[in-house]
C-alpha cells in the first residue's frame, strides 16, 4: 500500500451550553480546519452540538492499563471521601 495515511483526529462535542465536551468519535483529515469541518459534517447532523473540539489522536497521552493498580486502586480504601461514610442522627433529615 503506497498511500500515506491521513491523520486521525478525536472529536469532542459540547451538546449544550453548561455541559462539558464529550468524546463523540473520530475523523480523518489532513489538517485542523478540515478535521473541524469533517467533525461538523459527520457528528452534528442532528443538532448534537454547539461546540466542537478536534484533537490529533496522536497528541493524546493515555496511561498504561497495566498501571491500573498503582493509578486507581489506592483510592478504593478512602471511603471517608464519600458522604455515605457518615451516619447522621435521625433528627437531621438532610445534610
Amino acid at each position: 500500500m503506497s498511500e500515506q495515511a491521513t491523520p486521525l483526529w478525536e472529536v469532542f462535542i459540547r451538546a449544550r451550553n453548561g455541559m462539558s465536551h464529550r468524546h463523540a468519535g473520530s475523523v480523518h483529515a489532513a489538517d485542523a480546519e478540515m478535521a473541524l469541518q469533517a467533525a461538523r459534517d459527520v457528528y452534528t447532523r442532528r443538532g448534537e452540538g454547539l461546540s466542537i473540539w478536534v484533537v490529533p489522536s496522536a497528541a493524546i497521552i493515555a496511561n498504561d492499563p497495566d498501571e491500573k493498580g498503582e493509578m486507581f486502586e489506592p483510592t478504593a480504601s478512602k471511603i471517608y471521601r464519600h458522604p455515605t461514610f457518615y451516619e447522621l442522627p435521625d433528627e437531621v433529615a438532610n445534610m
Binding site: T6, A29, A30, Q37, A38, D41, R45
Partner: protein, 251 residues
Amino acid sequence: MTDTALFTYCMRLADDSAILSQRLGEWCGHASHLEEDIALTNIALDLIGHARELYTYAGQIEGKGRDEDALCFHRVEREFNNLLLVEQPNDDFAYAIMRQFLFSAFMHPFWEAMMNSKDEQLAGLAAKAEKEATYHLRHSAEWVIRLGDGTEESHNRINNALEFLWMYTGEMFECDEVVSSLVAKEVAIDPMSIKHLWDETVNTVLVRANLERPTESWMQTGGRKGEHSEHLGHILSPMQYLQRSFPQAQW
C-alpha cells in the same frame, strides 16, 4: 392577481438549488473519502431544502395548485430557469468544488442582503439560507485553497475547472426586468450591488490558492431565459422519470 415577476424570481432561485443539489447528489457514495461524501451530501440537503421552500412559495404565488413536485418534475428544459453554472457536470472533484465555490461566493452575500427583502417569505428563507451558504462557502473555499496549493496535479485540475467555469459566472449578476421590477419594490436585490463582495471573496481565495483570476472574458448567458447547455436535459431525464412515467401516482 398573480405576481408574475415574483413567481419567476422564486422559480429561478428554486431551479438553481434543485439542479445544483441534483449534481451534488451524484457524488453520494462516490466521493474521494467518507468525510467528504458526507459533507457534499450535507450541502445537497441544504439546497433541496431551499428548492422545496421556493417551489412551494412560487406555487402559492401562481395560484394554480402546482406544488413543489409539480414544479420541479413536470417542466421541460426550456422552462427551467437555473444558472448555466449549476448544471455543469462533475467532471472531477475540482469541477464540483469550483462550481460550488463560485456559486456560494455569490449566494452568501445574496442571502445576507435578502434578509432585508420586503417579501416576508423570502426574508425568512434568507435568514436560514444565509447561514447554510456561509458554511458552503467556507467548505468549498478551503478545498479550492488546498487543491490550488496542494500538488501539481491538483493545481492543474482546479485551474482547469476555474478556467472552464469562469464564463458562467457573469449570469449571476444579470439584472433583467424581472429582477429590476422587484428591486424597485425592495423585494429583490440588484445582484450588481454585491458584485464587489463576490470579487473580494473570489480574489482572496484565488490568491491563497495560487490561482490566477481569469481575465474578464465573454460571459455565457441564457439560463434565466431557459436556454441551457446540453447538460440540463440529461439532468432532467432521470430526475423526472418516475413522475413522468406515472403521472397519476403519489409517492
